[in-house]
Amino acid sequence: MKYILDILRREHGGESFCQRFEYETENESDTVATALTKLNEKDDLVSADGSPARRIEWECSCLQKKCGACAMVICGRPRLACGAVLSEFTGEITLEPLRKFPVVCDLVVDRSVLFENLKTLRLWLGGNAEFSEKYGELAFEASECIQCGCCLEICPNFCAGGKFFGMATVPITTRLLSQMTPKEYKEIARLYARHTFAGCGKSLACRDVCPKGIDTERLLVNANAMAIWKRK
């Protein structure tokens, strides 16, 4: 089977351009990540029109939807390249970098803002974690977040550098709130109100794109209950 990949490329600081590649495989389970890996293995990579091309820059690590490194926009939707099976698609497959973050090169983006926001929100435990049966499953689900940035890409309210930090900070906030006493999480709750609760338009588009299948609405409801409505 032959697949056509249209990749939005950009060299460090240069102009963006689209380049088409062909990838041929007999393996039905090959993903976008496989295609990018195999294309880059070629010493003489050429685009679909036969022109020499430099290797495609992209990030990957686990190749099984557990690390978030390979998040990109695939046919208009933010998702992980290692979870996007080529045979799902009909026609050309477009690959673009996540648009909410500065492009480093090709499909590599600088997601530093994700981690800076977590620091701004002071997301860490003050003392020992408290565990209750009520919140055990919630803490597990919240800890599954891989900080890929897909939820921010789809969010109509988030822009990097803005006051609203988006869904990417909510899983950690929810876990910490569930493991702290209301007295301990007073500051986290204040920052949550300012940087999350106040800006969230509740579109819940994040729920539809989370590669881990995290029920973002459930996390928001619980975080709101604990941080805003003081119910714990």
């Binding site: 880059n40 939807k65 690390c67 490194a69 600088d110 055990g136 910490l176």
Partner: protein, 532 residues
């Protein structure tokens, strides 16, 4: 910078553990990684972490954990190191729980599960995502110290060079992968860079970021490597696009059993032969799978039968594992057995360190899977994360004593050496040929001859030549070890020999690997050797 600083390369479990330990001592660290911690291989660890917490009414204790670890490792590890590890395990796991890891528990009392090579329930877990859960908690803890300025992240930076002078570390060079710029980080350094997965690209359960380059660079800088022949093939893996996917040992811990069709009927070969059945140590299970798969009376693949596992276990303890299997294999393990085969999962060998986790290069330390330390000839499931967290902590304490003020300087004229995908693929194929589950002098000699040719290939880059050197050292180590022990099984030397209860040590002399067998365990031996 005048304040004491330690460089940590690698931001997985051992790196984070080292950073937390140093921060608590008030010592600044630079945490270098090619990607953020969320992308580290540690997030893939599944089944659990061992500690004799004795919460299951089985009278467990650290002495039993010690003896199981020694036995599982075929007595090729330092007794003192394993004793320290197993005695500290309850404290380490309790601390991880305190930091917010959502381990399975009942009213704050940890629930433990069965794991391979251990008769008692000793493995703390969070479903089948224990590594990810621990990592999340440690990342949050490190964030606190980042905010305080005690941890400085270099989160898109690759280690490219280890500069030494007279067996003393001068600095490490790193490349900013976003800008392409090089910089030198002075001061002592802990390598927490994981195992040699990258030497078997696409054929392991690990990540693509775990290239093995750090070990090759350390080797090139004069560091000794040890026990390179001991490579763990995990019994239950499946091929997915681009890699091997692990089916956690937890599946067998919760009742899953292996079988193969023999004379037209399912044969549960492990249960028939061993008291612990499918929960024998991984080296034993993988070897038995190899033999039954090649037996004339058996047909087809080896299957992992998880259909007898109860619905409550699937909905609770193994819900994430089931979801993953269905997602990648389109098969429901609750309803049908899954074809599995052994795949490379862990490297017991690595950078040789002494009791202080210091290498033979003064100021260069190693911890976690990068170091050869606790696991002898075969690691027990549940001991890797323990070794990583405890190792990172211990190495950090030792490194703190060598820490001094150091600077970050640009190195604008540094010429990087680039690895070639073709050379990496060839290296992988040759190593797979020589270092399989069952080995022989003949196949290893054939691999070695081809590796020598690869080493001399025209135009091979400096880093690739170093990588091939490590590959040669691994095969030569296996060839020199004329016995079978743990993960190293030779059909031409099938017995274990007391004479080989020694550590295989590889070092570069005049640019070529030299293999010797040396004492381990009496910490004094290595300590004296290293810095006398």
């Amino acid at each position: 910078m005048n304040e004491k600083t330690v460089n940590i390369v690698g931001a997985g479990l051992s790196g984070l553990s080292a950073a937390i330990t140093l921060s608590r001592m008030g010592i600044h660290s630079r945490l270098v990684s090619s990607q953020p911690s969320e992308r580290a291989q540690s997030v893939l660890a599944e089944g659990g972490i061992n500690a004799a917490l004795d919460t299951m009414g089985e009278s467990d204790n650290p002495a039993d954990h010690f003896s199981d670890t020694m036995k599982g490792g075929c007595f090729l590890e330092s007794e003192a190191a394993v004793k320290e590890l197993t005695e500290n395990a309850p404290r380490v796991v309790t601390e991880l729980f305190r930091l917010g890891t959502p381990f399975q528990n009942e009213n704050g009392r940890l629930t433990l599960r069965n794991f391979g090579g251990q008769k008692k329930k000793r493995t703390a877990y969070a479903k089948s995502s224990t590594g990810k859960m621990i990592m999340t908690a440690l990342i949050d803890e490190v964030r606190k110290y980042e905010a305080q300025g005690l941890v400085e992240r270099f989160p898109h930076h690759d280690l490219v060079y280890i500069k030494t002078d007279e067996k003393t570390l001068q600095s490490i060079f790193v490349k900013d992968l976003y800008t392409g710029e090089f910089m030198s980080l002075g001061g002592c350094t802990i390598l927490c860079t994981g195992g040699l997965n990258g030497f078997f690209e696409g054929m392991t359960t690990g990540t693509t970021q775990n290239t093995g380059n750090a070990a090759a660079l350390a080797f090139g800088a004069g560091a000794e490597l040890a026990n390179l022949e001991f490579i763990q093939y995990h019994p239950t893996t499946v091929a997915i696009s681009g890699k091997r996917m692990l089916i956690s040992e937890a599946a067998r811990g919760e009742g899953g059993k292996l079988f193969i069709m023999k004379n037209g009927k399912p044969w549960y070969f492990m249960e028939e032969k061993y008291e612990l059945g499918s929960l024998m140590p991984r080296d034993v299970v993988s070897r038995e799978m190899f033999f039954v798969k090649n037996a004339s009376e058996c047909t087809g693949d080896v299957f992992l039968d998880m259909t007898t596992i109860g619905g409550d276990v699937w909905s609770g303890k193994l819900s994430d594992l089931r979801k993953e299997i269905i997602s990648y294999l389109k098969q429901d393990p609750k309803k049908e057995p899954i074809a599995v085969s052994p795949g490379i999962h862990f490297f017991m060998g690595g950078i040789r360190v002494n009791d202080r986790f210091e290498t033979n290069i003064k100021g260069l330390f190693a911890a976690g899977e990068a170091a050869c330390k606790f696991h002898g000839a075969n690691r027990l499931g549940g001991n890797s994360m323990l070794g990583a967290v405890f190792g990172g902590e211990t190495a950090a304490r030792a490194a703190s004593k060598s820490a001094e003020g150091s600077q970050v300087k640009p190195v604008p004229d540094y010429k990087d050496s680039v690895s070639s995908p073709q050379i990496r693929a060839r290296l992988r194929d040759l190593l797979l040929g020589g270092l399989g589950i069952v080995r022989s002098g003949e196949t290893m000699k054939a691999a070695l001859a081809d590796l020598e040719a690869l080493y001399s290939a025209k135009g091979i880059s400096k880093i690739d030549r170093l990588r091939v050197s490590v590959g040669i050292a691994a095969v030569e180590s296996a060839l020199a070890r004329e016995e079978s022990r743990g993960a190293h099984f030779r059909k031409d030397f099938p017995k274990t020999s007391e004479a080989f209860r020694r550590q295989t040590v590889a070092r570069l002399e005049n640019g070529r690997p030299v293999i010797t067998f040396e004492k381990f365990g009496g910490e004094g031996a290595l300590k004296d050797e290293v810095h006398s």
